[in-house]
Symmetry: C2
Subunit: 200 residues, 2 copies
DNA sequence: CCAGTTATTGAACAACTTGTTGAATAAATT
DNA sequence: AATTTATTCAACAAGTTGTTCAATAACTGG
């Protein structure tokens, strides 16, 4: 085995043990000793690769963010060349679908980080990512559908609905396929949430 | 000063220092020593009142949950005696208004706990609270408005929209009054969030 | 006002985690 | 086979944890 592969393999073992431990006891309650014990690796080895558990977390998150950004951006400029409602809708579906398929491939890690025992800042980072990528569409449509609700609240509703659906999906034991969830996300856009909370 | 008052005062000083520190460095990064130093109190005193920082957190949360439950429940049975749409709508508004006024009175604490550096489990606890209290209304209306979206996703959208609006409101520097936010919550019920995320 | 109860203080304790270092060993490279 | 690189293991000081205890301070009831 090559040196590079050897490093990669060690780091992979550490990462997997780390994600397992986040699910077991939460990021904040796990120690570097916990990680190395679970990974079957010396504590010294950990500190060769990472300065602390926060850097390990950051490196994992950075990779996820880069790939999600890529998946979301890839089809994002397409709409400008599309004209019919069907073309636009299909394009939106493909953006969701592509991103969800990647998220699904990192399901265990994503679920761990999105969980209450994971890293709330990571959820916010993804939220900010989606915000920036979709911000033009958001502001452009605001006013047409919003009934003059303040723009900041409108954005909160839209972003949180989208991302909490994904979070809920990640938490499920028998989740829908990424394709099915993309479909649910498409349909969810036409539902006013609080119509469902009334006293009728 | 009476003994009971003396205890209450000490605990209040500790609680205030604790909330300040959550905002400064986050719950997970603060130590008991940090709290007692900030509170100007001996570390021994802390351990007389609380076994650790988790118990302190829990006691604060329990009080908030009890009061929010009270505020939400008080007007919740009214609708059964109401008949017109205006009566029902007014009743809903009063439930929101009452709860929001209490939350506003505990704004600094609520914001600290709801923040990413606070306690995500507390947000989930409130979410569960609202879920249980409104669950009858939720299921009753499902199907009429949902376009056959799976019930679990419908609930996620409704609960997260409601609570993230409140969270966003708590984070604001110049927030609306509780009355104004109750109005925003009422109006937000008729907005389909993802209509705003399209590629048109 | 005094004696008894209760709260606070400050110091000490062992156990644990942290991040660092260095020497020995093991594995890959050339 | 000699060199570079990765891993291991042990030791280190510094900080936190939760507990204990004796001394001090503050309230309480008579």
């Amino acid at each position: 085995m090559k040196q590079a592969d050897r490093n990669a393999k060690t780091q992979q073992i550490i990462k997997e043990a780390f994600i397992d431990l986040i699910n077991e006891k939460g990021f904040n309650n796990l120690t570097v000793s916990d990680i190395t014990r679970a990974a079957g690796v010396s504590r010294g080895t950990f500190y060769v690769h990472y300065t602390d558990k926060y850097e390990l977390l950051t490196k994992i998150e950075d990779e996820l963010v880069a790939n999600i950004t890529h998946a979301l951006s890839e089809n994002l400029d397409e709409p400008l060349t599309k004209h019919t409602a069907e073309e636009i809708s299909g394009s939106t579906y493909r953006v969701f679908n592509k991103a969800l398929n990647y998220v699904d491939s990192e399901r265990i890690t994503m679920r761990a980080l999105f969980s209450p025992n994971g890293h709330p800042q990571f959820f916010n980072r993804i939220k900010n990512l989606v915000d920036v990528l979709f911000t033009d569409q958001l502001t452009a449509n605001h006013g047409r559908f919003s009934d003059a609700l303040p723009i900041d609240y409108t954005k909160e509703i839209a972003l949180n609905s989208l991302l909490n659906i994904v979070r809920h999906w990640l938490d499920k034991d028998n989740p829908e396929t990424p394709d099915e969830l993309a479909d649910i996300l498409m349909r969810s856009r036409f539902i006013a949430p609080h119509e469902l909370i009334t006293f009728e």
